[in-house]
Amino acid sequence: STVVLVFEAPSVETEDLSAHEKSRPESRNFRFTVANGERIKMGQALGD
């Protein structure tokens, strides 16, 4: 069986970031903390 998640999350174009945020773009954007092929358990973070 398979579960597919589709969701909206922050994805700010770099040019739209403020000077401060440019230094750490990931502070604003969603990024996955898992990779293809990785095993995962319920409750673990997929991304942040």
């Binding site: 589709v6 969701f7 092929g37 990785e38 319920m42 409750g43 997929l46």
Partner: protein, 354 residues
């Protein structure tokens, strides 16, 4: 001489069958080893159309799945249970220590398959800004849906559309209203009243929900997206995995769609050889909103695991006999203006055998 001859045939045929099955299994293990090797070298498996996938279409997959469900519902004698469940655990890498009950207490394989876990077996990530995995399993694909086609890569070389997966096409809303006239997807007369009531609810309220629905999200222009992107994550659950589905975040579920569909297997081989697998198979889609905007979760069934039971809608029946239902049938329901509020980590559904 005749009886001697026939006595020889039986062991011969059995040995030949076992040897053929053994050869097929060795070949399959070799192919899977090749895929793992390719993945280790960073080469993603590619889509390869396969005559077996075509052959699968001719099989009565739903009948096979339902028969499998009947088989695995049979109550096992207590002395046999540890042998069956330990065998299953060894074959599919299931962790029996986490099961909340002693394994002798699961009356059937189906009961064992939907086992709950001990308290604390799955601690939730404490971060308030993260998205949780709703299940145990393997991350098959994850990424950002790009471009206007809003396609998700099934495997390298083949992609399917988000709107086909979620049923965001405009026809879906009309089909829910057209269902009002025809009632074509009701399973049986006494349900038609309940089903059409749900559909009356869905047809009238669906419009007000459309602003947050996948249809709006998938058809808006890039200027409307603001600082948001659409992301996806495909999680595969093996037969030995814990099969209850939890909520990936605090969110409100406004809409549920049940796609009758087919029941192809969804193992790695099927993903590499059957086009549009997740769009063709029976599935239940929950759609709503979380703190960052739109969210949808699709639970996709398979031949082996054809049943999907919703905690907050136990009357929804999946993997039902095909009588009078077309494969394109969609039974949809809205959960009202405020939707159903679900907390991160809360159990929302469970897969089951057959």
């Amino acid at each position: 001489r005749h009886s001697e001859g026939s006595n020889l045939y039986l062991p011969g045929a059995t040995v030949a069958t076992l040897m053929m099955l053994g050869a097929l299994h060795i070949r399959r293990m070799y192919e899977e080893k090749q895929v793992d090797e390719a993945r280790r070298q960073g080469r993603e498996p590619e889509f390869v159309a396969d005559w077996k996938a075509t052959f699968l279409q001719m099989l009565p997959l739903r009948f096979i799945s339902r028969t499998w469900g009947s088989l695995t519902s049979v109550e096992l004698p207590v002395w046999l249970r540890p042998h069956v469940y330990n065998g299953w655990a060894r074959a599919f890498n299931a962790n029996l220590d986490e099961a909340s009950l002693p394994i002798e207490e699961y009356v059937s394989l189906r009961d064992f398959f939907t086992r709950t876990l001990k308290e604390g077996a799955r601690p939730l990530d404490p971060s308030t800004t993260c998205l949780l995995s709703p299940v145990d399993g393997v991350v098959l694909q994850c990424g950002q849906v790009t471009g206007t086609g809003t396609m998700i890569e099934q495997v390298k070389g083949f992609s399917y559309s988000v709107s086909s997966l979620l049923g965001a096409n405009p026809h879906v809303s009309s089909s829910s209203s057209s269902l009002l006239e025809d009632g074509q997807t009701t399973q049986n007369p006494d349900e038609s009243e309940a089903t059409s009531r749900n559909q009356i609810e869905s047809a009238t309220e669906a419009d007000s929900l459309r602003a947050s629905s996948s249809q709006h999200i998938l058809t808006r222009s890039p200027s409307e997206t603001g600082n948001k992107g659409l992301f996806y994550c495909v999680l595969y659950l093996g037969p030995g995995d814990y099969h209850r589905i939890h909520s990936p975040s605090d969110w409100d579920v406004f809409y549920r769609r049940h796609f009758y569909g087919r029941l192809y297997p969804v193992n790695e081989r099927a993903v590499r050889t059957i086009k549009n697998l997740y769009v063709l198979n029976e599935r239940v889609v929950l759609e709503g909103r979380w703190s960052q905007g739109f969210m949808a979760m699709a639970a996709v069934g398979a031949t082996n695991v054809g049943s999907i039971e919703l905690k907050f809608e136990p009357e929804l029946k999946t993997n039902i006999p095909k009588v009078g239902l077309s494969l394109a049938t969609i039974n949809s329901r809205s959960y009202g203006q405020n939707g159903l509020n679900v907390k991160a980590g809360e159990e929302v559904a469970v897969f089951n055998l057959g």
